[in-house]
């Protein structure tokens, strides 16, 4: 079996459009309506049918962490396969919806011929960070039940309130200059591993894009979207992942960052799927790098917006400046395992529990002793904050709170300081429910997250706010719409235990 994208190379690839530009053009835009009808058709199919709604969601994860087979329970996380696997997954899902749309005579001919999956670009904030009404209304315009509506989401999302700006931030996601890095951080696209649904490989580490906005939007939308085994059951899942896929294109094409070697395991590892007729097919990362030629789609817009206030310290360089000395220290390093390894210079001694409120931890920092010690005076190396050994206090529960992370934030004694100048990143716990169970090969151990805080530490040092002997890391829960206080009072928060918060230098 091999990749059989029949439209490969056709001129004028289909365009994946922004759901909000569609809905602002016209509520229940024909493309949105066609999606709803396609979803309805898929939902009517038997669960065992590979083109059914349930089966498609199970490709991502089996319900309750069940044992995977060759096709289901396959999603790749905390690994460099995250982006390419999800691109293949979305492509075959899109083909299934296209087939449903093409067969539906109640849809305009033009929509039927050119339908492509829309994407949800929440990052501009404001209205864009809310869910369009077509996903929140219980009924379609004709009064029939709306297949795009899911009750099982966080209330504030279904109330049309916006996601916290820190959950949708892309500055840090796009900042890394290499696709893959070994731990402690994963680069842009994740650390090199073997097949890694979740935690099969000890080298696992998610890339920057997989963390925020990917994981944070999963958890902030909440409900079905918050779990591996249920996320694909929410129709907005597919628009979210189309946006993640689009951001990969922004990073590759707009920022001009290099792909990993296509003859490496990254490019050649084969993943299996079903096509829109239910026939088996498969593909590799190398098969899907040119979306127009290989998969017959492009994006309406992949332009990278200017960094936000929080992102200014997130190391986003304009494309033309990418080779200058500011990034040269990491640019010169081969993207594989050959650079000097990072070393731990400080960490918490004990586990830290996060249970919905603000939590500060402080720990001692030592001077580096390895290669980083020699390098330090010439060109300060990278500084990486890690949050490791993450598990639920009560196993099996999905994550429901996302935290913003700050380094050495000012206390009450300094009311003029802008706390966002101390922002290190957003900490999501997507996949938490998979931790702790030993019942199947796909579940188990811990979540890991990391943040490149090189520029933040440099800025703090310049401002005299950096103590080389210790650091304080502050975890603060994200806002949840206007009703947050009321929500929180009733909400039973999933408590999370963090095994270790640490600081690495390279």
């Amino acid at each position: 079996m091999s990749e059989t994208s029949g439209n490969g190379g056709r001129r004028g690839a289909r365009v994946r459009r922004d759901i909000w530009s569609l809905e602002e053009e016209q509520p229940w835009h024909p493309i949105t309506r066609a999606y709803a009808l396609g979803v309805r058709e898929m939902q009517s199919r038997a669960d065992s049918d590979p083109t059914s709604w349930t089966y498609q969601a199970q490709i991502h994860g089996m319900p309750d962490g069940g044992q995977p087979d060759d096709f289901r329970g396959q999603c790749q996380h905390q690994t460099w396969f995250f982006l390419s696997w999800h691109r293949l997954y979305l492509h075959w899902f899109e083909r299934v919806v296209q087939a449903c749309v093409e067969a539906n005579s109640s849809i305009d001919y033009e929509v039927r011929a050119g339908w492509a999956l829309p994407y949800w670009n929440y990052s501009p904030g404001g209205t864009r960070a809310t869910l369009p009404a077509a996903f929140r209304d219980a009924a379609m315009p004709d009064g029939s039940p709306n297949p795009l509506f899911v009750a099982d989401r966080n209330d504030f999302v279904n109330d049309g309130e916006e996601l916290d700006p820190r959950a949708v931030l892309i500055d840090r996601a796009l900042a890394p200059t290499v696709f893959s890095r070994p731990r402690p951080d994963g680069g842009f696209g994740g650390a090199e591993t073997g097949w890694n649904h979740f935690n099969q490989d000890v080298r696992r580490m998610p890339g920057s894009l997989e963390q925020t906005p990917h994981g944070s939007v999963h958890v902030e939308v909440g409900g079905l979207m918050a779990g591996f085994g249920t996320a694909g059951l929410d129709p907005v899942f597919w628009l979210h992942h189309a946006n993640i896929d689009r951001l990969w294109e922004s990073w590759r094409l707009e920022l001009g960052r290099p792909d990993p070697d296509v003859v490496s395991a990254w490019g050649t590892t084969r993943f299996r799927f079903h096509d829109e007729k239910g026939n088996q097919t498969s593909g590799t990362a190398a098969d899907v790098l040119d979306t127009a030629a290989d998969l017959d789609y492009t994006y309406e817009d992949i332009i990278v917006p200017a960094p936000t206030r929080r992102g200014r310290r997130g190391r986003v360089q304009p494309p033309s400046a990418s080779e200058d000395s500011a990034t040269g220290r990491s640019e010169g390093m081969p993207p594989g395992n050959d650079g000097p390894p990072a070393e731990l210079v400080g960490a918490t001694e004990d586990a830290v529990e996060l249970s919905g409120g603000t939590q500060d931890v402080s720990f001692r920092i030592d001077r580096p002793r390895g290669p980083a010690a020699d390098q330090r005076d010439a060109a300060p190396g990278r500084v990486i904050l890690t949050v490791e050994g993450i598990e639920g206090v009560e196993p099996g529960r999905s994550a429901d709170v996302t935290y913003a992370v700050y380094l050495n934030p000012p206390g009450d004694e300094d009311p003029d300081a802008d706390p966002e100048q101390f922002f290190a990143g957003t900490l999501d716990f997507f996949g938490l429910e998979e931790v702790g169970s030993l019942g199947s090969d796909t579940t188990g151990h811990d979540l890991r997250r990391s943040f490149d805080v090189t520029d933040l530490v440099e800025a703090l040092r310049e401002e005299g706010r950096w103590d080389p002997g210790s650091v304080t890391v502050s975890f603060r829960p994200l806002r949840r719409g206007r009703r947050r206080a009321a929500d929180d009072a009733q909400r039973e928060v999933t408590a999370v235990r963090v095994g270790r918060v640490g600081l690495f230098v390279e």
């Binding site: 070393e343 002793r369 390895g370 151990h445």
Partner: protein, 241 residues
């Protein structure tokens, strides 16, 4: 120059390299008959050996068979710690881990002695019996829970006695799950330390189980291989040489 620098960088990334060297030495000792390894003792009863060589032989076999699958875990813990602790973490983790298997070996030898001398079970049936048990264990869900639990490594505290204690604790947990996963196989090896082809085959199997992404897919094939071995070592099937 460049070669040396590249080699040094590779070593930076592989603090477990020394331990990998120990594995190689263990295999050399086992495979080269004149070195006084298993080959030269071929055909002799392990009970006949003095206690010390028997203990040393068991430790060499543990190093050869059980260390390869543990190297990535040791590396993971070492790379996640301070520079100055990398070798210390690797050595401490692997020594405690081998210690767990040494303790298992003592129990297994005692049990084998008891079975043969105390209960009067024919020694010739101990090995096939244990391999048959290993084949059955391969098919049980507990076996695979233990394999998965082997992947669980909690990050260590950064320094001092607490880091040492946590590292030793991690090795004890890891070793315990490893014993839970591999006990019938290694009990069989404790009674068949002279059988090189069996050792090679079982090493490949237990290492693959530890490193495979979806390990429990090896349940059926692994059980078939071990059951086949059990038949082959039945008395009369293979002439002792």
């Amino acid at each position: 120059m460049i070669g040396a620098a590249a080699f040094r960088r590779r070593l930076w990334r592989h603090p477990e390299a020394t331990a990998a060297g120990v594995v190689v030495l263990a295999w050399m000792w086992l495979l080269v008959p004149t070195a006084g390894g298993a080959g030269s003792a071929h055909g002799s009863e392990h009970h006949a050996m003095p206690v010390l060589p028997s203990t040393a032989g068991w430790l060499v076999m543990v190093a050869a068979m059980m260390l390869p699958g543990a190297l990535p875990a040791a590396r993971e813990l070492a790379l996640g710690g301070p520079w100055s602790r990398r070798q210390r973490t690797t050595v401490l983790f692997l020594c405690v881990y081998v210690g767990v298997w040494a303790a298992f070996g003592a129990v297994a030898h005692a049990a084998a002695w008891l079975a043969e001398r105390g209960l009067g079970i024919d020694a010739a049936f101990v090995l096939p019996g244990l391999l048959a048990a290993a084949a059955l264990w391969q098919l049980s869900p507990w076996k695979w829970r233990a394999v998965r639990a082997c992947h669980r490594l909690r990050p260590l505290p950064p320094r001092g006695v607490r880091a040492d204690a946590a590292c030793a604790g991690a090795a004890l947990r890891y070793g315990r799950w490893c014993v839970a996963s591999c006990w019938p196989v290694m009990a069989a090896m404790a009674t068949a330390s002279t059988n090189l082809w069996l050792m090679v085959m079982l090493t490949v199997l237990v290492t693959a189980e530890k490193l495979a992404a979806q390990a429990s897919r090896l349940a059926g094939p692994g059980a078939a291989v071990v059951a086949g071995a059990a038949v082959v070592v039945l008395p009369g099937w293979m002439a002792p040489g």
